[in-house]
Every structure is written in C-alpha cells, then in structure tokens.
Amino acid sequence: MVTEQDIWHWLEDVNDPEVPVLSVVDLGVVRSVNLLDNEVEILITPTYSGCPAMQVIENGIRSKLAEKGLKNVTVTTVLSPAWTTDWLSEKGRKKLREYGIAPPENEVDKSALFADPVVVPCPICHSKNTRMVSQFGSTACKAHYQCNDCREPFDYFKCLK
C-alpha cells in the first residue's frame, strides 16, 4: 500500500534540471501530494514565471512515479501562494553551499536604488569579502558574484520575495 509519505520520499530522487544537486522537494516546488482512490495528484509551483525547467520537472515526476508503478498521476501547476526562496528547505540550502552555489540571504528592499547589494559569503572559502558582478545570472533564479579573496566567481541563488 503506497502512502503519501512514500511519494514524498520518491520525489526526493527527482532533481531540478538546472541545479541538479537539488531535488524538487528541496527546492520547494512540490506544493502538495494527494493520494486519492486510484489516482495521485501532485501540485507544483514555478520558481519564476518563465522557468523553462517546469516541463522537465513535470516529466521527471511522472516518470519517477511510473517507475514505482503509479500510472494515474496528474501534475497541476499552481501559482498561489507564490514561490519564494523561503520554500527552499534547510537541507537544500546546505546542498547548494556544498555544490558551490551561495544560498539566498535575506535581502533589503529592492525599491532602494543603488543600495549596497546583500553580503553573500563565498561558498568556496567562506570569505564575506565578495562583490556582485550582476543581479542577473546563468538562470532566472541566480545572480552572479565574485570572491575578492579567493577570486573565484560563483552563483548566488538570489532572494525572491
């Protein structure tokens, strides 16, 4: 007998294609798992409106559950409540850091123009002497930083609230 707990557990093996160190559960895009009589309903939510990974994530969820023998699966995208970086799990933050991506920090109000960018510790050498290169990075969810001490450029999983 399959339980919702089993499904959550299996979904931890479905990775975000853009940040493959994170599972869709770590990332917080799986909003709920509902086990109905003969059917599984999964609600997912996009990180960014234009996130091109959503289709791949949906397919990943389907094939993982099919592998476990669940054929009758609906995956529905919901927008509200909107995803924020607070949905990222503690485990996810730790994995990001180990992977070399700085996890989100709590940021100041974005309406303040030219405010000093948030201090993001270097994921390699942990120095706080880093600089923002660009608010926009390799994917919608990241900004581009560089460490002034070890000189390593790195991605910062930017705060979205």
Binding site: S49, G50, L79, A82
Partner: protein
C-alpha cells in the same frame, strides 16, 4: 464564460509577450556580457508571465483556443498591446528608457492587481510582482547611470526619453471593459496608479538629470488593435515557425 475578463487578461498578456519578444532580440547582442544576460532574463520573465496570462485568457474566452493559438496565430489587428511595447530596441539607452517607463507602470499595476477579486489574476500578479521588482531596479538604475553618466550617454538617454514619452500615456488606457471589471473589484483603476507612476518617474528622471518632455502629444491605438509599422515585422519573426509548419512542436 466571461469575455471581459478574457479581453482584459489578453491586454496584459500582449504587453508582456510583445515586449518580452522585443527584449529577447538583445540575446547575443548585449553591450556587455552581464547586460546580455540581464536583458535575456528579463525577456524570459516577461514571456513566462505572458504564458500564464495567455492560458487564462484562452480559458476564459471559451472558444477552445490555446495559449499558443493566441500567441502565434492571431493577426496584427487582434493584438492589444500598448504601442510602447512594440517600439524598436534602438540603442541600449532606448531599450532601457522603454523598459523603465514600462517597469515602473508594471510595479504599481501588479501591486494593485494582487488585490483583484479574480483569484487567478491575483495569483499571476503576486507571482509576477516579485520578478518585476528586479526589472524595475535594473532599468531605473541604468536610467540614472546613463542620464547622469557621460555627455554621450546623457544625450542618448534624453533622446530616447523625448522619443518614447509620447507612448507612455497609453499605459493608462481604459474603456468599458475596465469600468465593468473595476465595478466588480477585478480590474485595476489605472487613474489611481497614474500619480504614483508619475511621481516615481519624476524622481528617477531628476536623479538621472533627464528632462521629461513637456509636450502633451500622445500616441495610442495599440489597445484597440491599431499598431505602429513595427508590430508587423515583429509578428512575422515571432510567428514564422507556426505559420510555416502549422502545429509543430518540439
């Protein structure tokens, strides 16, 4: 099925889609690598927002059309984006000024639309607002850097503002569709956000040492399907694949 909601949603969708496509033309052509990436990310957000909006416009329309049908298979006169969105990229300054006028509008618009009594519009607004805050910051800071930059960058930013200012008024276009939906608590009354927009624009323009044009000459028509010469070329590019290979997918 409520066609006023569909019409209203389609306008917001078309602004996002057409401007998103325009900004995407910078992909691979940005003045520096960081800006190439920034503009491409902004384009992606706009097209993502357009996708959610077009899906909802298609669903509420109730004619069995999909979001893709609405994006790729309408004719020019059926698009209801503001003229500002379709204006050419010009130089980097012109792109930034266009984006700044639009982002500042979108910031206040989405803030207000979050309170819509239509749950799906409110959800899209809540999602999109978070992205728009980044866009607004990006374009406002660039307007200040360029305006208060070198003689050359100032002159170009001012020329862009002089050129595009006449299209800004159309952002506040309203007609019977709006009034019907405002009465139901669904649409945003744009007269309430116009002073907020103007105040913010004046503030940034001042920082940028740019002068807002004094002319009252206004260009509009996009909301009613009357477009500038530029939209046709954009659509030809955007629709090419679906027109040549109908129904193709990848």
């Amino acid at each position: 099925m409520n066609n006023s909601i569909s019409t209203y949603t389609l306008r917001i969708a078309d602004d996002s889609l057409i401007l998103g496509h325009r900004v995407s033309e910078w992909c691979g052509h940005g003045p520096i690598l960081e800006e190439d990436i920034a503009l491409t990310n902004i384009a992606l957000d706009l097209i993502g927002q357009a996708t959610s909006l077009l899906e909802y416009a298609a669903a509420t329309e109730g004619k069995g059309r999909t979001a893709d049908d609405l994006a790729f298979l309408r004719y020019e006169r059926d698009y209801t984006n503001v003229l500002l969105a379709e204006q050419p990229n010009g130089d980097f300054g012109q792109t930034i000024v266009r984006q700044w006028l639009f982002d500042t509008f979108r910031l206040f618009f989405y803030e207000a639309l979050c309170y819509s009594k239509d749950p799906q519009l409110a959800a899209i607004a809540e999602k999109s607002l978070k992205e728009t805050k980044y866009h607004f910051k990006h374009s406002s800071e660039w307007v200040i850097r360029l305006g208060d930059g070198t003689e050359e960058s100032h002159q170009r930013a001012q020329a862009a503002l002089d050129l595009l200012w006449r299209y800004a008024e159309e952002l506040f276009f309203m007609n019977a569709v709006d009034h019907e939906l405002i009465a139901q608590g669904i649409a945003v009354d744009l007269t309430t956000i116009k002073p907020l927009w103007l105040e913010r624009i004046q503030h940034v323009a001042k920082e940028a040492t740019l002068k807002l044009p004094e002319t009252n000459w206004v260009m509009k028509g996009g909301r009613e399907g009357q477009h500038s010469e530029y939209l046709g070329y954009l659509l030809a590019e955007m629709q090419y694949m679906q027109r040549t290979y109908p129904g193709m997918e990848w």
